[in-house]
Amino acid sequence: MRRGVGRSSGRPTPITPISPGPRLTGQPTATLGTTATTKPLHTHAVRTIAVLAATVLFLVACAGRAVAQHEHTLSVPVSFGPLALRIALLYAVPAVAGFALLRGFLDRPSRMTVAFVCGSAALGVLLDLMLAGRVEVSNQVVFLAVVAGCFPVFLTLAPVAAPLAEPARRAAPVVLAAASAGAIFHFAKAWTGAGSPATLHSGVILALAGLAWLPLVGCRRRAARLTVHAGSAVVATALLAAAAQATVAGGF
């Protein structure tokens, strides 16, 4: 059986619930005829939270000195210029857009495919941030876009993220829809003459961050699948056009 995060377009796969095990539930554990009771979960949680809180306080207290002390002086005697970034972006955007356009015709993507597409989207977000100069959205939104772009990669590659797979699968359509709406808004604003190159770049970043979640989407109903795949295809086409225009127009 192939491992994948998403679900096939036509054949839903049953989800096996993950048992938390006796340690997490606080149930008694039988071991070779003897019964040992583990500590209650809330005691363990309170202690963990207290340790974490103390650690955070300690780190925050140290942060001032750390800020003052640790300066990065970037003396790198090698300079590639932005050409390498542009070439990488010209690979990343078509890779993500191509997957989005063809998703409706493909079977469930393999784990490697998901990792490749999500990684390309995350890479595209970062490359565009470096090439854009400035964007129209706030830094907080940019940060969220970067996190949204990178999280599916972590989810796909990290075994420790397995418990997050099901919640992420449920959240994927929402994240995709929200980012796509933002991207379409910025594209429309730029193409109706009300925006600037920064508007176009904002749309590219949001579209890539949203499409990073497309491989995780697994809708059961046919209508929902059709909506997701059609909407993604529209956003992907707009993304290709916007990235091309920003490149040709000298926005980079």
């Binding site: 140290c62 990065h72 970037l74 590639f80 970034l85 970062l126 470096m130 830094n139 940019v142 990290a158």
Partner: protein, 188 residues
């Protein structure tokens, strides 16, 4: 030819590092980490106690080899060595120590990623969002704050917890261990 089967049924060099030589490997890794901390502490001493100007406060080794401290290659190289150490040595940890070690490893993955991003910006001359200097992602929400020493703290704390748990394993954790890191159980 006899090969050593180590943690997780692995064979070869990595298995040896996680089995027979796990104690030495973890000790060596700890020396590297503490050495890095020592450099920062010396630098802090130079700035805040000796009152040296910041550009001349380059730690101990950096005082004699300045480019080591002023190059992003050095920072990135250290982040990479840390990441490799976490990845290679994780198989020798079991139970709670494995959980803490893997947590530290994933934080280090992010830390390494941030350094890679800084290095790429320095090499291409294209800075994030047109900033005047290479900018890390976390600076998008905490501007003008350099947090890489903070990252080192955040990686160091779970790493130390993992080591303590590894040295004092529970019986079920000890049963899974293939290394000799844990203190022997007193007999009698």
């Amino acid at each position: 030819m006899a090969v050593q089967a180590g943690a997780g049924g692995r064979v070869g060099f990595v298995a040896a590092l996680n089995g027979k030589y796990h104690k030495a490997a973890v000790l060596g890794f700890t020396v590297i980490v503490i050495g890095h901390w020592a450099e920062h502490l010396v630098q802090a001493w130079q700035i805040f106690v000796l009152g040296w100007p910041r550009p001349k406060s380059l730690g101990l080794i950096g005082h004699y080899i300045p480019w080591l401290f002023t190059s992003e290659w050095m920072h990135y190289g250290y982040a990479l060595v840390m990441l490799i150490g976490f990845v290679v040595l994780r198989h020798g940890f079991t139970g709670r120590s494995r959980t803490w070690w893997v947590a530290a490893m994933w934080i280090q993955v992010w830390h390494h990623f941030e350094h890679l991003l800084l290095l790429v910006q320095a090499m291409t001359g294209q800075y994030l969002l047109g900033e005047p200097k290479p900018t890390s992602i976390i600076q998008l929400i905490a501007p003008r704050v350099e947090l890489h020493l903070f990252y080192n703290f955040v990686v160091f704390v779970p790493m130390v917890v993992a080591m303590i748990a590894h040295l004092r394993p529970r019986p079920e954790e000890r049963a899974e261990m293939v290394c000799s890191c844990a203190a022997p159980v007193p007999v009698g």
